[in-house]
């Protein structure tokens, strides 16, 4: 019997639906089997942007021609120097080949190295350098968390492009990198700077421990604290304190913060919610991203603005807000919110996990200054070494190169890892870098540790392998000088004794003082007036820069050394006509005015005030255009 066409259609439709349902029911068991046979890729970590809706289906169908087209378009536009969509093209190419590490590294490298150098202004260059490493850091690595190559590429990019001096605009990159991190970590408190402590020490001793124990999300921040979990964390921290020879004040601060939360939790209240509600009355929702830290910044700059305030009540409300934000009773809640958001920015903006930072610092015995790209390079390198288990090879080149980057980065920290920001940094004045003596023990241990794998195959009985011996001895000699300059005589003596004992040399026979005299011989080899003056000029110039950057202790040391050279020369001249006709003070004053011309007026006046020199008056300003 023939079926009516429309009936037949319905039968077929129902049959199709039935088959679809039947097939769908097999998906879950099939997935289980795929997982059991390791035929699936690891899921993307939470918070990582998934490939776009449009691209996802293409992962299965038609990917090759789209990828080929995008590559061709990217190459063509690059050849024509058209970069208006280069970043988005790169992203699309990578999203279509998400597990292909070489694609990620090529695209990142292309942006950071090839595209950036074709641009002229430092701002534009920096944009592309940043695009390059952010592509790897924010997308490539989260999608390929076990690929060592990507960690190595990222670390190298940060180290070579930002931290090193190979790019003509490296100062600009360093400045912007540091500014971003200062914004995330916050500025030091008003009363932070005091004799013996400079602004940069805030970042060199930053308490990442309190960020590590901060809540992981807003819900947790606003909820009644989980007493049991907090007690466990406190116990863990106290146990680690007990293992130390002396109490760590940072851990103590973290314990106190947790205890405050635990106490509130025991009473069954949220210690933060009340404060957040009160702040909402002023129009600031501290549970919203960016609001609370923005409020802190605007309060600091005096630029806070209230909205929706009735006319005539503005000043009163502003006063009430300031009172709330400086009330002792709300201090713990304010700190908790601030720490939460800073930790959140660290995790999401620069992808640094505070807990891992704490462990890293414990392993290296030093808190890194994350305003330096070197510190980030070390972080990503260590992460790559830990997580890079994707390839089982006899010699994993990427792994080896990744390890090397740690050594390079720490070495650079020793040479120029003490970063001082100008007060005019936001106006574009680059940071000042000087040696960071804190890196000496770290680098020393790195040499010792890395030698251990080679020493069993070597005949001599020294702590460092012959592979590294030249570099190591050179480093230790320089470290002795840096310790001496910093007034850390005990540490200098310890290193000197180590060197004399393990690597004997005639130059150590005269003891530490003799060694230092030999090292600073050129400061005494000053029988020539122009050369002496040039040396003094250099030292005074350095001192002026250090004063300008508020590194006063180092500036005083530079001036003192200049004075020593001056006095030594004046005392050893063989004829009066060789005498320097100016006093040391006059030389300093003259140079202050000369170098002051390259400084902002405020900086110049500040340096003059520190030196007790009268600043020169301001020159008349011109308003004419070049055509006039």
């Amino acid at each position: 019997m023939a079926m009516h066409p429309s009936t037949r259609k319905w039968v077929f439709a129902l049959a199709a639906l039935g088959l679809l349902c039947a097939a769908s029911s097999r998906v879950a068991p099939l997935d289980v089997q795929r997982e059991s046979h390791k035929l699936v890729l690891p899921p993307l970590p939470e918070g990582i942007a998934q490939p776009s809706m449009l691209l996802r289906p293409l992962l299965a169908v038609g990917r090759a021609p789209v990828v080929a087209y995008l590559w061709m378009r990217a190459s063509k536009l690059k050849e024509e120097k058209l970069y208006f969509d280069a970043y988005q093209l790169s992203q699309m190419i990578c999203e279509l080949q998400p597990r292909f590490a070489s694609v990620w590294s090529f695209q990142a490298w292309n942006m950071a190295y090839n595209i950036s150098v074709t641009l002229k202004s430092p701002e534009e260059r920096w944009r592309w350098v940043r695009n390059g490493y952010e592509l790897l850091r924010d997308q490539g690595i989260p999608m390929n968390p076990t690929n060592t190559q990507l960690y190595k590429e990222l670390s190298w990019m940060l180290y070579h492009k930002v931290a090193d001096i190979m790019d003509n605009e490296h100062w600009y990159y360093k400045l912007q990198f540091a500014l971003q991190m200062e914004d995330i970590l916050g500025r030091p408190p008003e009363d932070y700077v005091r004799p013996g402590r400079v602004r940069g020490d805030f970042y060199r001793n930053y308490n990442y421990q309190v960020l590590a124990v901060a809540p992981q999300n807003v819900e947790e921040l606003l909820a009644v604290p989980d007493v049991e979990r907090l007690s466990e964390t406190i116990a863990g921290l106290e146990a680690s304190q007990a293992q130390r020879q002396e109490e760590d004040p940072q851990v103590r601060e973290a314990i106190e913060a947790l205890e405050w939360l635990r106490d509130a939790g025991e009473q069954g209240v949220s210690p933060v919610r009340g404060f957040v509600e009160r702040l909402r009355e002023f129009g600031f929702d501290a549970a919203e991203e960016g609001v609370y830290l923005g409020l802190l910044a605007s309060l600091r700059d005096g630029a806070v603005q209230l909205v929706g305030v009735e006319p005539g009540h503005y000043e009163t409300r502003l006063h009430e807000l300031k009172a709330l934000m400086s009330d002792k009773a709300t201090q713990n809640a304010r700190l908790a919110i601030e720490r939460y958001w800073r930790a959140d920015r660290l995790r999401h903006e620069v992808k640094l996990d505070p807990e891992r930072l704490v462990r890293l610092h414990e392993a290296f015995g030093m808190i890194f200054d994350y305003r330096l790209a070197e510190a980030h390079a070390v972080y990503w390198t260590s992460l790559g070494i830990e997580k890079g288990v994707d390839r089982q090879r006899a010699i994993d080149v990427h792994r080896l190169n990744t390890q090397r980057i740690v050594a390079y980065a720490v070495q650079r920290m020793f040479h120029r890892g003490r970063l001082a920001m100008s007060r005019n940094s936001e106006m574009g004045e680059p940071p000042l870098l000087s040696p960071d003596v804190r890196a000496i023990p770290v680098l020393f241990d790195t040499f010792i540790e890395r030698s251990k794998e080679y020493l069993p195959f070597e005949k001599q009985q020294t702590p460092v392998s012959t592979n590294f011996i030249t570099g190591f001895i050179g480093f230790v000699r320089r470290a002795i000088l840096r310790y001496h300059e910093a007034g850390m005589q005990d540490e200098a003596q310890e290193l000197f004794d180590f060197l004399r004992e393990n690597y004997p040399d005639p130059m150590y026979l005269a003891g530490l003082d003799g060694f230092l005299v030999a090292q600073f011989l050129y400061d005494r080899d000053t029988d020539d007036m122009p050369r002496t003056l040039a040396r003094i000029d250099a030292l005074v110039g350095r001192a002026l820069r250090l004063y300008a950057y508020d590194e006063d202790d180092d500036a005083v040391r530079c001036l003192a050394r200049g004075k020593q050279i001056y006095d030594y020369y004046q005392a050893n001249i063989i004829s009066d006509r060789l005498e320097i006709p100016l006093t040391y003070g006059e030389i300093v004053e003259r140079l202050t005015h000369r170098f002051g011309g390259t400084m902002y007026r405020e900086t110049y006046e500040r340096v003059c005030a520190k030196l007790g020199v009268e600043p020169l008056p301001v020159k008349g300003e011109t308003t004419g255009s070049p055509g006039e």
Binding site: M72, Y83, F84, Q88, N168
Partner: protein, 579 residues
């Protein structure tokens, strides 16, 4: 050479003969009076009848929801591009990306729509026998096809006008949003009052003078005049702005003068080397140094290539005799900015070096010296800078260095201490660009230029629908469109680009291959200007180019294809005669 490939030549000749016979047969049959057709080639009342078919075609298209589906896609995609186009993060990149993607995607969708709509226009009617109601009326077949073509194009014009309008509004909206943000930031960070901020932003539209970096930027002077403040105070205000905003300020000026305009360009004319080729050929002949195994033509070609190479190459430390480019007569006193665009090549990788004076010459950047204008007068303009090699670079030149008749004298000095030859790929590798119109005029020209390939595609589609079913016709036209769109890639893949010369290959076969690929390219080409790219770069499309494209692709090729379609349709038996 022919003897070596005699079998191929015989077969090739045989194929040509068959093709010719077929063509003659088809033409003869086509012009025979057919009994089934009413009206033949008559023109009287054609307009009314074509309009009627156009209306029914449009109505049918709208009923079929193909057109409305594509229209919806276009209308949805443009706002999505507006929201998601970030470009390189600058205002210029954002506008360029938005324009490029919005119009590029619209062009792509309209091409698809044209193929689908035109291929189904007639074939569906024939298949569903609706054609009987039209064919039985007193309307010639060519008028039916013309009506179909106009129906398709009416829809295209409407949708493209909508897309261009949306792109224009979107572009202006991006600029307007940038200005609002800038004014806000000038108030918030720069410490200006709302009135001052508004003045400072308003003056951005009238900045004059060539673009420079930092405090020398003409933006600073313009703002200083608008605010009545000294330049250093304006600089300090600008330095307080966020870094992306500062970059955008400069990029906005570039956008205003390089993208949201219509700029034409002139390049140096290639020299006439005939005389020099003759001289050198004769000299070689006299010295009995003509290479063996090469024909006279090949030798002369080689000599010409060598001479052209010399002409385009500037040796280390050398200065090129000025190229003289004939541009338009400048309007004195107006904001008349020209720019020089060039691409310089060097052999191999250029390593980075540090000079004794501390200056670092970066890798793959050449230290160039450009002298624009007559150096014996005070009006000349000199640029001494490092420029990346192998990529297009552009810098602005003041109007003062242009001669009264519009001639621009351009001299290049290869002053790089690394001592490498600098080579220009002339004429495309060097051009002077100057403004000839507004952005509005350029977007209108882009609208017309995008239509031209669509007219051609519509002709192909309508022609295909006269003898093919909808799926087959669509597949074929789409395949042809894909081939013509990727012709550049095909030429590169088959190594037949004009720049490529085979090192060790039978010249005849290579020439034949190139000829065949070129012929296919020519036969399938539906347009030879790229309006989206030109609009994105602020380059004028030009009425001459539009006209040239129109007659070549719409009138000539589209007309020819439509003519073939008419011939086929006239021959087509729409209904079998049942006795």
């Amino acid at each position: 050479m022919v003897e070596k490939h005699y079998w191929f030549m015989i077969m090739f000749g045989f194929g040509c003969l068959i093709g010719l016979v077929t063509l003659v047969y088809v033409v003869r049959r086509a012009f025979r009076r057919e009994a089934g057709e009413i009206g033949g080639w008559e023109l009287g009342g054609a307009g009314t009848r074509i309009a009627a078919v156009t209306r029914t075609t449009l109505a049918e298209g709208l009923r079929a929801k193909v057109a409305s589906g594509f229209a919806l896609l276009i209308l949805v995609s443009i706002p999505i591009f507006w929201l998601t186009a970030d470009g390189d993060g600058t205002i210029k990149g954002q506008v360029q990306m938005f324009m490029s993607y919005a119009l590029g995607f619209t062009g792509f969708l309209l091409a698809l729509l044209t193929i689908l709509f035109s291929c189904r226009s007639l074939s569906i009617e024939v298949a569903s026998r609706q054609i009987y109601s039209i064919a039985s009326k007193p309307i010639p077949r060519w008028q039916i096809l013309a009506g179909k073509w106009f129906g398709v194009m009416c829809l295209n014009v409407f949708l493209l006008a909508l897309a261009c309008g949306a792109t224009y509004v979107g572009t202006r909206a991006i600029v307007s949003r940038f200005k609002q943000d800038l004014a806000h930031e000038l108030e918030l960070r720069g410490g200006l009052t709302p009135a001052q901020a508004a003045n400072a932003v308003a003056v951005l539209d009238s900045v004059k003078g060539i673009g420079k970096h930092g405090a020398e930027s003409p933006i600073v002077y313009a703002m200083a005049d608008a605010l009545g403040q000294p330049q250093n105070q304006v600089v300090e205000t600008l330095l307080r702005l966020s870094e992306p905003t500062r970059v955008n300020l400069r990029r906005f000026d570039e956008l205003r003068r390089q993208v949201l305009v219509s700029r034409a360009s002139v390049s140096p004319k290639p020299p006439d080397l005939t005389e020099m080729v003759d001289e050198r050929y004769e000299a070689l002949k006299e010295e009995d140094r003509l290479p063996d195994g090469m024909t006279t033509g090949e030798i002369r070609k080689q000599i010409k290539a060598d001479l052209m190479g010399d002409y385009c190459t500037i040796p280390p430390g050398g200065f090129r005799q000025p190229w003289r480019l004939q541009g338009p007569v400048p309007e004195q006193g107006s904001d008349y900015i020209m720019s020089l665009r060039f691409k310089v090549h060097v052999g191999g990788q250029l390593p980075a070096v540090r000079l004794p004076n501390g200056l670092t010459l970066e890798d793959d950047k050449l230290l160039c010296m450009w002298i624009i204008g007559d150096p014996t007068t005070p009006d000349f303009y000199e640029v001494r800078e490092l420029f990346p090699v192998r990529s297009y670079e552009e810098f602005e030149i003041p109007v003062s260095c242009v001669e009264e008749d519009g001639t621009v004298s351009v001299m290049f000095g290869n002053i790089d201490p690394r001592r490498v030859d600098a080579v220009f790929d002339l004429p495309s590798g060097l051009e002077v660009r100057y403004g000839v119109g507004s952005f509005e005029s350029n977007i209108f020209q882009a609208f017309l230029a995008i239509l031209i390939p669509l007219t051609c595609l519509a002709s192909f589609g309508v022609c295909a629908s006269t003898f093919l079913s909808f799926p087959v016709g669509t597949l074929i036209v789409m395949a042809l469109w894909a081939i013509t769109s990727s012709m550049g890639f095909l030429q590169e893949a088959l190594a037949v680009t004009s720049e490529y010369a085979p090192p060790d290959y039978s010249e005849f076969l290579f020439v034949l291959r190139r000829w065949i690929v070129d012929a296919i390219g020519w036969a399938l080409a539906i347009g030879d200007c790229n309006p989206v790219d030109q609009l994105r770069e602020g380059r004028a499309i030009g009425w001459m180019t539009l006209w040239a494209n129109f007659w070549k692709f719409t009138l000539l090729k589209g007309g020819a294809v439509m003519f073939v379609g008419v011939l086929v349709f006239r021959r087509r038996e729409l209904a079998s005669v049942i006795v």
